[in-house]
Subunit: 461 residues, 2 copies
């Protein structure tokens, strides 16, 4: 590997210049006036992939923006990585808050500022440069590699699922690698091995056919706002535990090793609380804040509305009240099953005084690859070699739907191999990528392929 | 009294023609473009009062529309009635829903349709005609009478309290008579002897300094929507009883006679429920629907708002949540004291995870004159003579602030002597007054003065 790493170190400046060129293309997928730029970016991406030695490179047309595909399958007997990323970027509004033009990559204080620098062109390009180094020095990669890069990640990936389903066999691999997330904190590289799922509902209550005067009718009928409050308050006990019967049945408990690992993380609860502006943190009894956010399910009331909400006072008993509620799910909770449990519970606890309608909005499955999975551990060793630091193995509280898709359709584990930072401004003005993280990321990626190559195809070390 | 009643019967048609003239003046107090009409109506009212024999008739100027005053104080040794009403009317929008022009009184099926027919010109005019009959036949009234008619009742009576305070001595009387309310039901004349009070609040909760992503932060902090639901749900127990400590301490329990009287009322709970469109009625255990609405306090959530309430789904933990809540109060609850109890209870049950602010909006005292008060009973006898039916003695769930004002500032009991109907459309298109009720009301009013004259000034029979 030394010759590969030498190549990366030697070409560090050139890599940066090429990255600037990539970042100069305003591939904003959300804006129709940038459709040509998105295609130009797909073509630039494909040309670069061909240049670094990928084969069968092509644009896969979709009803929206194209997917760029390429592979290199010359490592006979070695595992296959399916690398996923995206070449489209977020819009740049409000433009006036950018300190340098979003599509003229600018270096300040060791960071490169540009739209797409962290999310996700910079992290895609990091792999391109790792592949290039292997190819230039050894004429081959240590692993087989398939790459799919979509142009619609920032607009909901409407065409990705169908593409994966339609090409299920062609996309066969041993592990998915995605570099599209931040590390735990500056100077603390991490491997994220779990994400939460989601199930989202609207609850509509109707008490009477129209709003009523609270003087003339107050006392005679149930108030939908109050019934809603009563229903919602029965969703959690005082200890923050969700009261939906059966809700926790499939929850995979935290392993002792995970809890021990996370306890060691430099997480300052007071600083965290102050940054959020919360008088006091609150969550499920018996779990730390990180455990609550990363590995425990939640019940949130995302919105409530009923009756008179303007300035002043109106003495009304509303006819209707509404809440939007959602649950973050953890392995091995199934959104469909949780939805059923929730709907049954609402029906059970709702009084006969109101009509109740529960509408399921959308959802996604939770995802996890065990932290001691050989691919995850291989990624950890690669990060350690690239950054000179043992990474932390963490989970995240949010959802990345594509990860669940790869698990579901292709049956593949994923490795989230991200080198962004929590303050990278991914969807905000002044998006940036730390140059040391980029360079370390190229080295780590090069090592990743090598580490994965050492794993038996059945997943053994 | 026979000569008085004969006069009323003989002049029935003329009365109606005069009423039409009164209703033709569009005295809409809410609309500046009708200011001249309001004044013209005040002047018409004053002229009519003078014509029927009232003395000292004058317009009392206020910062808004004038109050019309007049008196007749020639019944030495007899009690004094302070008659209150209003000559202003509601706006007429939406005009296209009126079946006949709102200021061209039209008779259909025994009812007179016009804005102000029931609320309140028609009921004021009913007393004018009763006074006229006494004066024409006997040259005097059996009681002393002071009349104040305001022109701002439909816009909040902003100047009435000050007028009453400034003229406290001049307005001295034994009983207040108000005819500005509907009777219990068609064919069921009634005397209302109690109204509920009100105290209204806004509750504001803040959990964090800004909205949070429910994936990244769900589980770490309290959700203000949920905390709001928990606070609100602790306001009532399952039996519908309010849980604010001390809330019921001053509540005057229903007298057995009241409960027995109300049980006899032709109140069809199924019809009532269906008209409201409620799946099931609900209220405080141990009380009937009428008792709950007329004589028991309530806690209502008039409005709730927090987080995302648009179409679709947004995975947000809101920074803030808000509720508007109010309590209807019954004798002898004091709004100030109840406000203190409520605020203390919210502070006590609110968790430390959110900032809570309680803002008191407005309120009013409950009012009651015992149903066996001699003036109330006198009114009952008068109604019986006018309508040929024993009236029911009921209370109402709403509030009429001026009644509490008369009680508070002047220390006077009030008699609500209304001949409207529940379907009179008081603030809606096609406002109407039943002509039999108007005629019966003139006779009943004439008897009322006679019955009141028979009461000792200290209130004895």
């Amino acid at each position: 590997m030394n010759n590969v790493i030498d190549f990366i170190n030697t070409n560090r400046d050139r890599y940066l210049e090429e990255l600037k060129e990539y970042l100069a293309i305003p591939s904003i997928s959300a804006l129709p006036e940038h459709a040509a730029d998105v295609r130009r970016c797909a073509e630039w991406t494909a040309a670069e992939m061909t240049r670094i030695g990928m084969q069968n490179v092509r644009l896969e047309e979709t009803p929206g923006h194209p997917i760029v595909y390429g592979d290199w399958l010359g490592a006979e007997g070695a595992p296959t990585i399916l690398f996923y990323g995206h070449y489209d970027v977020q819009p740049v509004d409000p433009l006036e808050l950018w300190e340098s033009p979003p599509f003229e990559a600018t270096i300040r204080d060791g960071e490169i500022y540009a739209r797409g620098s962290a999310d996700d062109k910079g992290q895609v390009f990091m792999h391109f440069k790792a592949i290039e180094a292997h190819m230039k020095q050894n004429g081959k990669l240590p692993v087989n590699m398939k790459i799919i890069l979509e142009g619609e990640e920032e607009v909901g990936s409407a065409n990705l699922d169908n593409y994966i389903k339609d090409n299920k066999d062609a996309l066969g691999a041993d592990v998915v690698v995605i570099s599209d997330s931040p590390m735990f904190d500056r100077g603390i590289p991490s491997i994220c091995y779990g994400l939460r799922g989601l199930v989202y509902f609207q609850i509509d209550l109707r008490g009477t056919k129209s709003d009523l005067h609270s003087g003339s009718f107050g006392g005679a009928v149930a108030n939908p706002n109050m019934v809603l409050a009563q229903i919602l308050s029965q969703m959690k006990d005082k200890g923050g535990r969700i009261r939906i019967p059966g809700f926790y049945d499939e929850v995979k408990e935290l392993r002792e090793e995970e809890r021990a690992e996370w306890k060691k993380l430099p997480f300052n609860e007071t600083r965290y609380r102050k940054e959020l502006g919360a008088p006091k943190l609150f969550g499920e009894s018996g779990y730390s804040t990180l455990e609550r956010v990363w590995a425990r399910p939640t019940f949130e009331v995302n919105g409530i509305l009923g009756g008179f909400t303007g300035d002043g006072a109106k003495t009304v008993i509303p006819a209707v009240a509404m809440a939007k509620v959602s649950m973050r799910l953890v392995p091995n909770q199934d959104p469909d099953k949780i939805a059923e449990l929730f709907e049954s519970y609402v029906k059970k606890i709702a009084p006969k005084t109101v009509e109740v309608k529960v509408t399921r909005m959308h959802g996604g499955k939770p995802w996890m690859t065990e932290f001691d999975n050989p691919f995850v551990q291989a990624a950890g060793r690669a990060i350690e070699k690239g950054f000179g630091k043992t990474p932390v193995f963490n989970r995240e509280g949010g959802s990345i739907p594509v990860v669940a898709t790869f698990q579901e359709i292709l049956g593949l584990p994923s490795v989230l191999f991200g080198v962004g930072l929590p303050d990278e401004n991914a969807h905000a003005p002044n998006e940036k990528l730390d140059l040391n993280n980029f360079h370390g990321g190229v080295i780590a990626s090069a090592y990743l392929y090598d580490e994965v190559a050492g794993i038996n195809k059945d997943g053994g070390g």
